[in-house]
Symmetry: C2
Subunit: 345 residues, 2 copies
DNA sequence: CTGAAAGCGCTTACAG
DNA sequence: CTGAAAGCGCTTACAG
């Protein structure tokens, strides 16, 4: 079995200095009513003994852990890892350690992770929900426990919690309008699962861009799918094999857009001349491929920072009647070679 | 201030059932010497009261937190996020929650994170060191505290800790040999900081491939750098501007390789005909770009799983005299269009 | 099979 | 400016 970790405690420091643990604790926490001499003696002794503060014990006593839980569908997306980075920056600054975990898009894993985070007594939880989640009761449990919950990007509307999102509708609208301005007359939309706000909003933006430009739109132009790279590839390949005509693609994901590009290239279809294409998220690879993929920047790092700040506010006002708020960031269209035609219209 | 979280405790369950906290605790932990009837009553009451086990308190009492700390340079690399995924799989299975943090390649942040992890009383720490780290005393501190430490991929040799790596030498050797077999006679190596084992080994593999194939090698063929995308771009651009001749590139990083490819393309140099190129890591984008980038697969997920298993072993044998071990995984060369010539030699 | 009691390492009102 | 004492919520040898 695990052997006792003979780490020195506050008690050891106290004994060595012939003061009480109370004094040592106060000195370590830089309490104002402890003399400078005592503080320095304690600090020196702590360093000599290689004292390591037991955060667990302090957390138990204080009723707060200074741990912030973050759950994302996967860290293996530039979007999510950038958001995490933004959260870290603000949280660390405020004295929080961040505990990151992944749902891998599965509801079961998501619910299990919520249990882990709550049991670990995190002071708050930040979440972007997985594609596989349709029942949100595990989040309700967080709220019931009075633990601050902040959502970002993928946000279930039914939950009374604050959220930070970008204006997906607007990003999609702009991307689609851009394709139309480049001369596209029949644009395909690679859409995501409609139970997620972001994909619903992107589809609405796509639709409204057509409406407001007086362009007809058939439901067959909208292809829902997993938005993975292979799904994009397969959807477009099927379309081409069926002989369906189209001259533009707006994908709700950069990954599916790349798959689509590969399907087009495999048949020698010119991008952007024959088919112009735009994605969503500005993943780093979008500027590595050729032609560069037109996409929508989501300001992920800033989104993380904002989310963390809202958690901090909410934590400080815990107990007060809290009115959930929604923060909407503005997306930015990044135009690259995949959609930019020589002679638009 | 934060308000008391009125969560029910073991004591509440005990009172409601008219038994003692001891019994409730045992029932919840499924202790063998508690009657089935009592257990079921406790479980039912726990569920009725919506009891949430306080992991912090249990951890404090038991002297173990069931938390595993993982520190990587950045989660924003497919390699690292896959390793983390592998660690998670094994650790969760064994009842551990994983706490991920990033050093962002900076020694200071790395040392600070070690403090956070130790204070949080994690049961073990898994690390891949940052590029900016030259002083390893913060890791020594982990060992001194008797907390299991396992390293992977980027491993300081001076530390008496177990490590999991791939055979970087072999991967580099194979990639370079492949380039030579494709007819390259003067290969450039985009190298990484020599204080990191992986880059030293990759360079050795590069060198030995030349030696064993009787090909001359000048020191000017080795270009050390940050291995970021723009660094690769700039190094190769400078070489071209200087009129240096070369017909192959072996980059110690996929990112730098992409930068190099962009530099070549910008000047209309044919890949792989004029210059063949290979990278390292098999990042997903290597199969998205054109031509596909030849690279070395590192079996990252398996690396994570292995690392986690070694932690578990080490934790179980804590206190025993532990002999650090080194596990070396075999890399795999992935040949793609960036290096495959029609008529080799 | 269950209970009484001590204690994990810290913090903090209450005194002085 | 410092101390004595209680307690955060749990677990676990020791009894019976």
């Amino acid at each position: 079995m695990a052997q006792r970790k003979n780490s020195p405690t506050i008690h050891d420091i106290a004994k060595a200095l012939d003061v009480t643990p109370s004094t040592v604790s106060r000195a370590l926490n830089n309490h104002p009513r402890i003399s400078q001499t005592t503080k320095e003696a304690v600090w020196r002794m702590a360093s000599t003994l290689n004292y390591q503060h037991n955060h667990l014990a302090a957390a138990l006593r204080r009723g707060r852990s200074s741990l912030l839980g973050v759950m994302v569908p996967t860290i293996n997306r530039s979007f999510f890892s950038s958001v995490v980075r933004g959260i870290e920056e603000v949280a660390n600054e405020a004295g929080y350690a961040v505990m990151v975990c992944q749902s891998h898009e599965m509801q079961e894993q998501e619910a299990a992770n919520v249990q882990v985070l709550l049991r670990t007594q995190v002071d708050g939880i930040i979440v972007s929900v997985g594609k596989g989640t349709s029942d949100f009761s595990h989040f309700q449990q967080i709220i019931d426990r009075n633990t601050p919950l902040v959502l970002f990007d993928r946000v279930p509307e039914s939950l009374p919690a604050s959220a930070v999102v970008i204006d997906d509708y607007r990003g999609a609208y702009q991307a689609t309008r851009h394709l139309i301005e480049q001369g596209c007359r029949r644009v395909i939309h690679l859409a995501g699962p409609a139970h997620l706000n972001i994909y619903r909003d992107r589809q609405r933006g796509f639709e409204d861009a057509h409406r407001l430009h007086g362009l007809p739109l058939e439901t067959s132009q909208i292809l829902p799918g997993s938005l993975q790279q292979d799904a994009g590839h397969d959807s477009i390949t099927a379309l081409l094999e069926a002989g369906e005509p189209f001259d533009g693609i707006f994908s709700a994901s950069d990954y599916a857009a790349v798959g689509a590009m590969q399907a087009l290239k495999a048949r020698g279809i010119a991008i952007p001349e024959a088919v112009a294409i735009a994605g969503f998220s500005n993943e780093p690879f979008t500027s590595m491929i050729e032609p560069g993929l037109t996409t929508v920047e989501q300001h992920s790092r800033q989104m993380g920072q904002t989310t963390a700040r809202i958690f901090l506010e909410q934590f400080d006002h815990q107990g007060d009647p809290y009115v959930p708020r929604r923060t909407v960031l503005t997306p930015e269209l990044i135009v690259r070679g995949s959609s930019l035609r020589q002679n638009p219209r």
